[in-house]
Each structure stands twice: as structure tokens, then as C-alpha cells.
């Protein structure tokens, strides 16, 4: 292994540029608050949740690979490990969100003809309990993801198998808590935006988007690192495997998207169709039913079907970027229509806040990647991964 390229170093400019962009993001949010508070808060929710899903997806990727005893992912494992470092920042972003519940959620002050239905949910949907759940979710996510990353780095030093065993156990605990917390968190943060609406598949739907976008992020980071001469250990077969995950998760997303839509459409029950009704008005229809399935499923599926595409860094990078935009659109079409039923508008607030979050996310990943060798040097499965060949 090439020792010099084992240690990642960012250039001197990158942190400054990213820091400035993050500050611009905060400034746009502040400006947005003055101009149109509900819209600014919606943009904050969109960006904050978007990056929570990327970081959580990385941790889920680590956990299921540990539990499945897979060997191939070891060479690129530092990338998802670094992505989980975002979770503490994400925690702060969600605590900030708790300040904006009054602007975002109808259930804070139920009014109108369905007020009694919303009031029924108040034992669960009230500001105090909503805010109290946030630290519970993040405590589980941060603690377990840090444990996985710490085990991995401790093994670099001593090569002790105990760290792998500990990661297996941590992963199992993560899976259980992840399933519970992600379901509830997606009910809290997203589903309750449409306060009278409900769908039992909603947690799985958010999971599908999370999974797909997480794989896309891992691919982007891995490919960019390879372009700069790092991660030479990651060969075309690793890219191929990640590409297979990307196509598989895009199909899974489509399956869950379709299941939810189809059952609600077919049964045509008013309290359920309300969700799709506002998303079929005007241009929201195009976004929800043409653009969203196209970028999250049709394009990734068709473009990645050939074997050669899954081994081409260029193609994988393009498709991953499409999927990352797609995940944003998916959340956008989930969050915004209730606020702007007249039609989709994309302005400086949405752009600025997301950009700011993106810059901060990139900064955290880059800093985290610097802190450890890019390859887990003494992992018991490393040899398998270095010889990954499919």
C-alpha cells in the first residue's frame, strides 16, 4: 500500500471556501426568517433532514455490512465512517428546528374543520414531547455510530479482533434502535407536516430514500478521493458492488413509492388521498409524478443496468449526483406543497440553506477523513477486500 496516499489531506483553501459557504447558508436562513418565516423553516427542515439521512445511511451501511460479515466493503469503510461524524452537527440542526415548530406544524395550534382529529394526536404531537424525542433519537445514533468508528480506528493500532466483535454487537444494537427511531423520527418531522394524514409505510419510504441517497454519497466521496489519487485500494469491483447497491436501492425506493401511492389511489379514502391531492395540483403534479420517479428510479435504473456502467467512475458519479438531486426533490415534494399549494417555487432560501448545510457536511467529512488512515489497516477482512474481484 502506498503510505503517502494513505493519509488524506485537504488543501488549504477547501475549509475556508466551505466555511464561507456554510456562513452564507446561515445568512440566507436568517434573511428568509425575516422575509417568510414558514418557508425559511421548511427549507431548514428539508436541508437538516436531508443530511441526517445521509449520515444515518452511512451508519446503516456500516451496520449491515458488519452483520452480514461482508469483506468487500472494508477498503472503503472509512468513507461511511467519516459521514457519520455529521450526526452531532445534525443533532444541533434538529434542535434548532424544534424552535420553529410553531411555524411548521399545524398540530401546534390545531384549527379548521379537522382540529378535533389533530387534537386527538396531542399526546404524541405536542411541542414538548416533539422536542424531547430529538435527543433520544440522536443519543442512540451518535453513541452507536461513534462506537463503530472508534472500534475501527482502535483496530488500526493493535489489530485486535475484539474490535471487530464489538462492532458486530454494536451493529446489532444499532439495527434495532435504527428501525424504531427512524420510523418515529420520520413520523415526527415529515409525516406530521400533513397533520391529518397518515400512512403506515411512511417510515419505510423514508428509509428507502435514505438508503439510496447514502449509497450515492458514498460513491461520490469514493470516486472523488480516487480521482485525487487516494483510495487506490478501491478497485473497479468495489465500484461495481456499490453500483449494484445503487441500482438495487433505486428499485427498492420505487417499490415503496409505488406501494404507498397505489394503495392510497386504489382505495380512494378521503383522509388518505388528501396527501396526493395537494401534490397533484398544478406543477406539483409534474414534480411528484414525473420528475421524482424519473430521478430516483428510472434514470439510475436504466443508466446503471449495463455491467460496464457499474464499473465506470464517470457514469457512477453522474448517476450518484442525479440520485442526490433526486433525494432532495423527493423531500422537497414531501415538505413544500402544503406550504405552497399553488405550485413549486425554488428560491434563494431553499438554495442557500441547502448549500450551507452541504458545505458544512462536506467540511465535517473532510476533517474526519484526515483523522485516520483511509484504509482500516488491520481489519481481519482487509485481504478479502483488497482482492475483491467480481
Amino acid at each position: 500500500m502506498n503510505q503517502t496516499k494513505l493519509q488524506f489531506r485537504t488543501g488549504p483553501a477547501a475549509p475556508k471556501v466551505l466555511g464561507v459557504l456554510a456562513a452564507i447558508g446561515l445568512a440566507t436562513f436568517a434573511a428568509g426568517l425575516i422575509q417568510d418565516a414558514p418557508r425559511a423553516w421548511s427549507s431548514w427542515l428539508l436541508a437538516a433532514f436531508y443530511f441526517v439521512t445521509l449520515a444515518l445511511s452511512a451508519c446503516f451501511f456500516l451496520a449491515f455490512n458488519y452483520l452480514a460479515k461482508s469483506g468487500w466493503f472494508v477498503a472503503l469503510r472509512r468513507v461511511p465512517e467519516a459521514m457519520t461524524a455529521w450526526l452531532p452537527v445534525a443533532f444541533v440542526s434538529m434542535l434548532v428546528l424544534a424552535l420553529g415548530t410553531g411555524q411548521l406544524y399545524e398540530w401546534v395550534q390545531p384549527h379548521g374543520e379537522h382540529a378535533h382529529v389533530i387534537a386527538h394526536k396531542s399526546p404524541f404531537l405536542n411541542q414538548w414531547f416533539f422536542a424531547a424525542r430529538i435527543p433520544i433519537y440522536f443519543a442512540a445514533w451518535i453513541f452507536l455510530s461513534r462506537k463503530l468508528a472508534a472500534n475501527s480506528r482502535a483496530q488500526d493500532a493493535d489489530g485486535d479482533l475484539r474490535h471487530t466483535v464489538s462492532s458486530w454487537k454494536t451493529s446489532a444494537a444499532f439495527m434495532v434502535l435504527f428501525a424504531l427511531t427512524l420510523s418515529l423520527a420520520s413520523f415526527d418531522w415529515l409525516m406530521s407536516l400533513d397533520a391529518t394524514w397518515f400512512s403506515t409505510i411512511f417510515g419505510i419510504y423514508q428509509f428507502a430514500g435514505l438508503f439510496e441517497a447514502g449509497i450515492a454519497t458514498i460513491l461520490v466521496v469514493v470516486i472523488l478521493l480516487r480521482r485525487r489519487g487516494y483510495l487506490a485500494e478501491v478497485n473497479d469491483s468495489h465500484l461495481h458492488s456499490l453500483g449494484q447497491w445503487l441500482i438495487a436501492t433505486s428499485v427498492f425506493w420505487a417499490y415503496i413509492w409505488f406501494s404507498q401511492f397505489m394503495l392510497i389511489w386504489y382505495s380512494n379514502i378521503p383522509e388518505e388521498t388528501s396527501y396526493y391531492l395537494i401534490r397533484s395540483q398544478g406543477e406539483w403534479w409534474t414534480v411528484s409524478f414525473i420528475v421524482n420517479p424519473a430521478v430516483n428510479f428510472v434514470l439510475p435504473f436504466i443508466l446503471l443496468l449495463p455491467r460496464a456502467a457499474k464499473r465506470s467512475p464517470r457514469m457512477l458519479l453522474r448517476v450518484s449526483l442525479i440520485v442526490l438531486v433526486g433525494h432532495w426533490i423527493d423531500l422537497w415534494a414531501g415538505i413544500m406543497p402544503r406550504l405552497m399549494p399553488q405550485g413549486p417555487t425554488f428560491g434563494y432560501v431553499e438554495a442557500g440553506v441547502t448549500l450551507g448545510f452541504g458545505a458544512a457536511f462536506a467540511l465535517v467529512i473532510l476533517k474526519k477523513l484526515e483523522r485516520a488512515p483511509l484504509v482500516p489497516l488491520k481489519d481481519p477482512y482487509l485481504e478479502e477486500s483488497l482482492h475483491h474481484n467480481i
Binding site: L67, K69, H120, D160, F202, Y266, S267, I269, P380, L386
Partner: protein
């Protein structure tokens, strides 16, 4: 292709240091020796059960569906429960052979053949139920959309019941072809070893002139991969469509959006439990312990634990959303399930599907064959009751309290269920005598896997490793802390 490297942590997939020749010998032995007393006794039992079922179905068809315990409130009960139960069982085989193949899970090689056979037989059992539910099964061809002479009478493409016909027949066809393709090389082995002329003749026809050349193998592998890719979406689509039989309705307890993935996971759960039950018996009876090792059983136990927990999550989500929705009928249905006249069935379901599988968190239990056997039977029972609970408890107390009813199955219905088990085991026992129960070619390809000098500390992770010279005190403390 460069040679594969395996971590020292990998456990061997084939134990007992058997040679390639011994693998063939051991795997073909059940085909070539005369059937023993155990087999004949099991076969007689299965045939009897099948006979009981056939008699019940004959009586039912001759008399009418009035022989069942259905009433005007509960119009779907035992028959549909059995249908969904058997379709669910039929999921593990193709999951093991297709999905695990795509995921490069090498441990699938020892269990895929019999699991696939089971899939096919389970789907056959499932198909019987809608057929007899028609009441006039001789009109079953009406479900086929062909130009007909019945005037405006045409199949209803908007009905999920019709989608079922397409989904299940596609699944059955692909599973059967996939299974048969996998069988061809092994049928050729059976042909080459056959002593009698008739035997040789039959296996020759069945193995399509397989000659084992590298060209044939290469095409075979390509075909196998393609079929795995085609079969994977089918594993998901079948139970998705079965779930839509219920979820497209507007009946509380049936209509909920989580049904498609929840049914698929439940099907994998029940399928793996049935594979586990059968393989535990089979490995003992025909001495396959070297091929179907405790590691294989442990892997299956992990799949059962994961899918059982997901099913538990789905139950809780449904319950939570029933309250959250604020819809009183939705809420009533779930409270009624847990506390109403069918509460016994609900709690059997929860205990067998969610609570007892949690024992599989313990490695000792995951590696204890008797415990796995018991737990897998529990899952089989629990998953039957899951379907019963969904079908019957959602119906028996509808919007009009004056029409509330209870449902009790008649003897005819119970005999039909017994008969379906009879059919399943008859087919499975015949399979054990007629076809190679292990995928010989595939097992040989992994027989060297994980077989190498082993690091002593890796054998049992729960025991502390002896302190190695040069290891830091901190590492040692960490180790001791883990114990």
C-alpha cells in the same frame, strides 16, 4: 480472474474434510439406496393426510362452499388463510437461490436445492385453495384472459385477485425453470452413476445431454445468473400482490399502506422457518451434517431473527398508526384484535412471531439444533395465525354491530388444511427419492472455502484469548472487560 482470498475468520462451509468424490457419494446415496422404513412410514402418513384432504375437497365440491364455517359477516377465512400461508412458505426457496446468489452468499449452496423444491411444492399447495374457493373449479379457466364466447363476461383486470393469478403463475414458472436449470448438472451426475438401464434412460432425458464441457458450464452459469436476476423481483412481487388482495380494500385492518413490504418480509420469515424445520430433519435422516452445518442453521436463524423483528415492527406501526390516525374504526379493529373474541389468535401470533424468535439473540440458542427446531415450529404456527388474524378479525366485527359474528372452522376445512400438508410432504418425500437433494456442483465449488489452518483465538469469540506477547496492557484490559 485472480484467485479469491478469504479472511481467516471464514468458517468452512463443508465440514468433515470430505473429498470431492465423497461429496458425490454422500449426496447421491439417498437416491441410490432402497427406501428405508422411515421413509415408507413418513410417505404413508403423508399420503393418508393427502387422502383425507382429497376426500374433504371432493365432498366440498360436490356439496358446495356451505360445508365451510363461513357466514355472511366472515366471508373469507380458513381457505384464504391457508392460501396466504402456503404462498408465504414458498418464498424462502427462491430468496435463497436468487437473492442470496446475487448477494454472493456462498452458504446458500447446501440449502438451495431442497429450499427451492419446497418453494415449488408450497406454491402448488397454495394454488389449490383459490381453486377450491371458486366453488366450481371446473370454471377456473375463466381467470385466463382469452377471447371468449361469454359475451361481455370478461376477467376483471382491476381486481387484485386476478393479479394473483398472473403473479403466482409467473412465480411458479420461473421458480420451476430456475430450479430445473440448477438440477441439470446434478441429474447428469445421477445419470453417470446409474446402474440400471431404466434409471440411466430417465436421467439421460432429464439431463438434456449434459456433457460437463467448459462451454456447457459457462452457458449454464450465465443462464443461472440471468434467472437469478429475473427471479429476484418475483420474490417481492408475489407477496406484494397477495397483500394487495387485502390492502386495496377499504376494510380497517386490511387497508394499510405498509402491507406490501410487511407481507414480503413475513413470507421470508415463514419460508425460512419451514426450510429450517425440514432441513433439521433431513440433515439428520440422510446424514447431511457435513453439508448443512450448524453454521448454516445459525445463518438461517439470523434471517429469522431479522425478519421476525421487522414483522414485529410492522405490527407495532399498524397499532400505533391506528391510534394516530384518529379513525375510530381503525382503532377499534386493532383493539378488538388484541382484546376481542379472537384475542387468543392474536396473542398466539404475537408470541410465536415476535417474542419467541427474540431468543435467537443468544448464540447458544442459534447453535442449538433442538431449540432451533422448536422455534421454527413456533414460527410456522405463528405465521399461520398471522394470516388468520388479518383475514378473520378484520371481518368478524364490521360497521354494523347486529351483524357481528364469530367464525369456527368446520371439520371439512380442517381436513383440507391437513390435506395440504399431506400434499406438501408427499411431494417433498418423492423429491428426496428422485432428485439430488444437494446442489453437488455448487457444493464442490465451495468445499475448500474457509478450510485452512485456523487462528486458535478465532474459534470462539466469547472466550478471552490468551495474552499474546507484545500486546499492550490496554488491549488486554479491553479484552478482559469484554468477557
Amino acid at each position: 480472474m485472480s484467485h479469491q482470498v478469504y479472511s481467516k475468520l471464514r468458517e468452512p462451509l463443508v465440514t468433515g474434510d470430505v473429498s470431492l468424490h465423497q461429496i458425490t457419494e454422500q449426496a447421491c446415496a439417498p437416491l441410490e439406496r432402497r427406501a428405508g422404513l422411515t421413509w415408507w412410514m413418513a410417505f404413508a402418513l403423508a399420503l393418508t393426510a393427502l387422502g383425507v384432504g382429497a376426500a374433504a375437497v371432493t365432498y366440498e365440491i360436490a356439496t358446495g362452499i356451505g360445508t365451510w364455517g363461513l357466514n355472511k359477516t366472515v366471508g373469507w377465512a380458513f381457505d384464504i388463510t391457508n392460501f396466504v400461508f402456503w404462498v408465504g412458505i414458498g418464498h424462502a426457496g427462491t430468496l435463497i437461490s436468487a437473492v442470496l446468489f446475487l448477494l454472493r452468499q456462498k452458504w446458500r449452496t447446501s440449502i438451495n436445492r431442497s429450499a427451492e423444491a419446497m418453494t415449488i411444492f408450497a406454491v402448488i399447495c397454495a394454488a389449490v385453495f383459490p381453486l377450491i374457493h371458486m366453488g366450481r373449479p371446473w370454471l377456473a379457466f375463466w381467470t385466463a384472459p382469452y377471447p371468449n364466447f361469454r359475451g361481455p363476461l370478461w376477467v376483471n383486470f382491476r381486481s387484485p385477485l386476478l393479479w394473483d393469478v398472473f403473479a403466482i403463475s409467473t412465480y411458479f414458472t420461473i421458480s420451476l425453470v430456475f430450479w430445473y436449470i440448477g438440477l441439470i448438472p446434478d441429474l447428469a451426475s445421477a445419470r453417470d452413476r446409474a446402474k440400471s438401464k431404466i434409471r440411466k434412460f430417465i436421467y439421460s432425458i432429464m439431463s438434456f445431454g449434459w456433457n460437463g464441457s467448459s462451454r456447457v458450464w459457462s452457458r449454464y452459469e450465465t443462464a443461472y445468473l440471468l434467472f437469478a436476476g429475473l427471479a429476484t423481483p418475483l420474490v417481492v412481487s408475489v407477496h406484494t400482490i397477495v397483500s394487495m388482495d387485502f390492502a386495496t380494500s377499504v376494510i380497517p385492518g386490511w387497508h394499510t399502506t405498509i402491507f406490501p413490504p410487511y407481507f414480503v418480509v413475513g413470507a421470508v420469515f415463514s419460508g425460512f422457518a419451514m426450510v429450517m424445520t425440514l432441513l433439521i430433519i433431513m440433515r439428520k435422516v440422510v446424514n447431511f451434517q457435513n453439508f448443512i452445518t450448524v453454521n448454516h442453521l445459525e445463518n438461517m436463524a439470523k434471517v429469522i431473527l431479522v425478519t421476525g423483528s421487522i414483522v414485529g415492527l410492522a405490527y407495532s406501526t399498524e397499532f400505533f398508526i391506528a391510534w394516530y390516525s384518529g379513525n375510530e374504526y381503525e382503532g377499534f379493529t386493532f383493539v378488538n384484535r388484541a382484546t376481542g373474541p379472537f384475542a387468543w389468535a392474536y396473542w398466539i401470533m404475537v408470541s410465536c412471531n415476535v417474542i419467541t424468535p427474540q431468543l435467537l439473540w443468544f448464540k447458544k440458542i442459534r447453535r442449538s439444533v433442538p431449540m432451533l427446531f422448536i422455534l421454527s415450529i413456533f414460527v410456522n404456527i405463528g405465521m399461520w395465525f398471522e394470516r388468520f388474524v388479518i383475514v378473520v378479525t378484520s371481518l368478524h366485527r364490521d360497521y354494523l354491530p347486529s351483524s357481528w359474528a364469530y367464525y369456527t372452522p368446520t371439520l371439512i376445512e380442517i381436513a383440507t388444511l391437513v390435506g395440504s400438508f399431506g400434499l406438501f410432504f408427499t411431494l417433498f418425500l418423492l423429491f428426496c427419492r428422485a432428485l439430488p437433494m444437494l446442489a453437488l456442483g455448487e457444493i464442490k465449488s465451495v468445499s475448500k472455502f474457509g478450510r485452512k489452518p485456523r487462528h486458535p483465538e478465532l474459534d470462539d469469540h466469547s472466550k478471552p484469548a490468551a495474552k499474546q506477547p507484545g500486546k499492550s496492557t490496554r488491549a488486554h484490559q479491553r479484552e478482559t472487560a469484554h468477557v
